[in-house]
Symmetry: none
Subunit: 197 residues, 4 copies
């Protein structure tokens, strides 16, 4: 959708990178300012100085624009060093995630996840570009833990991943309790104790 690195010159006027960025910036601004509800295609087009058709040309729905805009602002799949301790590594990852989620980025992510429940294409994009890359990092850490003997080898890794991330997103979306550092620390400690040999 935007990662085209095709250098083989195609006929016709090439897509304007300036326009693409203007749209993403405008959408991100609106998203952060007033949330998803106000980030309408019309508002984005107006703010970016762009025609609606141009947006529809490249994105199938406003949800898709919103996600791209969100990634444009917040995406950075931080790579964490191997500390030698599974608990510490996972805790680092979770603390980093909830740090992001405590701010405006968390509210917007909640809205995007919410919208994804009504739009399966959006759901797909979120899974592929947001959730999976983060799970992949944690999967590697858990794998190392198993190899080191810190984690039982008969556990199902995907279940453990859900035990870690499920509660985080649950707190994000239900707002029953805050995403505090204490929560993260106890969560990871409990989970890993539960899968220790």
């Amino acid at each position: 959708m935007s990662e085209d690195a095709i250098s083989t010159a195609r006929p016709g006027r090439p897509r304007s990178e300036k326009t693409r960025l203007a749209i993403l910036e405008a959408a991100a601004d609106l998203l952060l300012a007033n949330g998803f509800a106000d980030a309408t295609i019309e508002a984005i087009a107006a703010r970016a100085g762009v025609s609606k058709v141009t947006i529809y040309k490249w994105w199938p729905s406003r949800g898709a624009v919103a996600i791209d805009a969100y990634f444009h602002r917040f995406l950075q799949t931080t790579v964490f060093p191997d500390s030698g301790s599974t608990v510490d590594d996972i805790t680092s990852q979770v603390l980093h995630l909830i740090e992001t989620f405590r701010g405006r980025a968390g509210e917007v992510m909640a809205e995007l996840l919410g919208q994804a429940q009504l739009d399966s294409a959006l759901s797909e994009v979120l899974r592929e570009r947001w959730l999976q890359p983060r799970r992949a990092l944690s999967t590697a850490v858990l794998q190392r833990g198993i190899e080191r003997g810190e984690i039982r080898s008969d556990v199902t890794v995907t279940v453990v991943l859900d035990e870690i991330y499920g509660p985080v997103y649950f707190r994000l979306m239900t707002r029953l309790h805050p995403l505090s550092d204490e929560f993260a620390t106890e969560l990871v400690r409990n989970v890993l104790r539960g899968v220790a040999p």
Copy 2:
């Protein structure tokens, strides 16, 4: 919102219970048939043979109607017996929940939770009338577990609750992996092993 039990005869024509039920039935039908997106106020009014104003009179938003309709169809806070084993009790509760979530009711609940991210009043209602009652039941079970010495007394109960329900709702909303019985069983076993003394 709909549970008014005011029996003190007020002047004027009393609220029609028939109308209230017609609205809830219509909303539930639409919700199950085509999901939240199609359960518009206009569609509900048309199907219930009721005027839009009547709906607005008693519910503040279509999300509120949807939730009432959902509860009208699915709400039954099953009370589970004390089996003597914390793992078994919690497992029973979780299995019962995901059994519900595997059907159409799960898809609709996901949509409602999604919509709640864009509507804080909805979020409130979901917390109060859906999430909290179920957590209360599990809290009691966990409490018994602590008293029996099956669970360490220094754990934070709310964190454990999130460890149990977070993964369930996470799978419901992300659809990364299925809500299978095996998942539920391993999840509860892992969690409780993690908080065992």
Copy 3:
């Protein structure tokens, strides 16, 4: 479409006469100011302080609104007295018509007739509400002429009507030559001489 005089009170909020008039006035203003091209539904709605849906509710197309607006401003089927002379009576009618057509009303009528070529519903309305009533008046005059013996009884009245009005509308639409009084006078004289006994 707008001439409903149904007094049998129907349920529901009645159509707002104020709104109807606001739409017609706005459309007429725009029509006279910048012509048909500028009298878009959006512009009419904006000027009348009315929603587009309300316009679409009562008129099927902007052409239909334009015609109603035109009639709202210009419609007055003047009845002419019987002078005793067919030539004088027809000349009076034609002079009166071209008098109207020489002004802005003529340009707008030309545009409406033009638009009617692309919209058969419009064409229908123009025939029924504009052309036919005027032809009916002239038909009566010609009939009197036949009875008096001023016109041959074997002529086809519709052909004579076309001989009178055809050239008028032809000049209106082609602008080859002006709609002068001299033209009208010579036209009617020639035509009636051609059908004299």
Copy 4:
């Protein structure tokens, strides 16, 4: 506009005649198939396998293309012989015209005349290239009639021309009555009787 006969070879690639014809053929096809409304610049370009810019390069508006396309298909200023009788000569011309107008060509001409009411450049082209050439032929016939003494010398020729062609175009555009041969015959007879000495 398209009849450039400039043979003085200019530098650069010359205009492609193949392209010009492809555009006219495509436009004519669309015009006959679905009428003026569907003969959009985009549709013509797509059907001709030509870029929009190329069309805009050579024609100022879609109306202009449409007229050129119409002429490309239908234009043939038939020259009629002098039969010695003014009535017969004019009748021949009118019968030939309405013969054309009774088919699809008539509907398209009506649409073009309609569109010309909203586009003065179009109006100009229609006058110059369609109406005037035909009037010139009839003017010659009428002139001969005056010289022969069949027509009074004090009549205004342009008025008589309007008396002949006005009713034809009036019937074409209003569709009040059909363009039958009987109509044409009676029309011409009446008109010429009206200007006989």
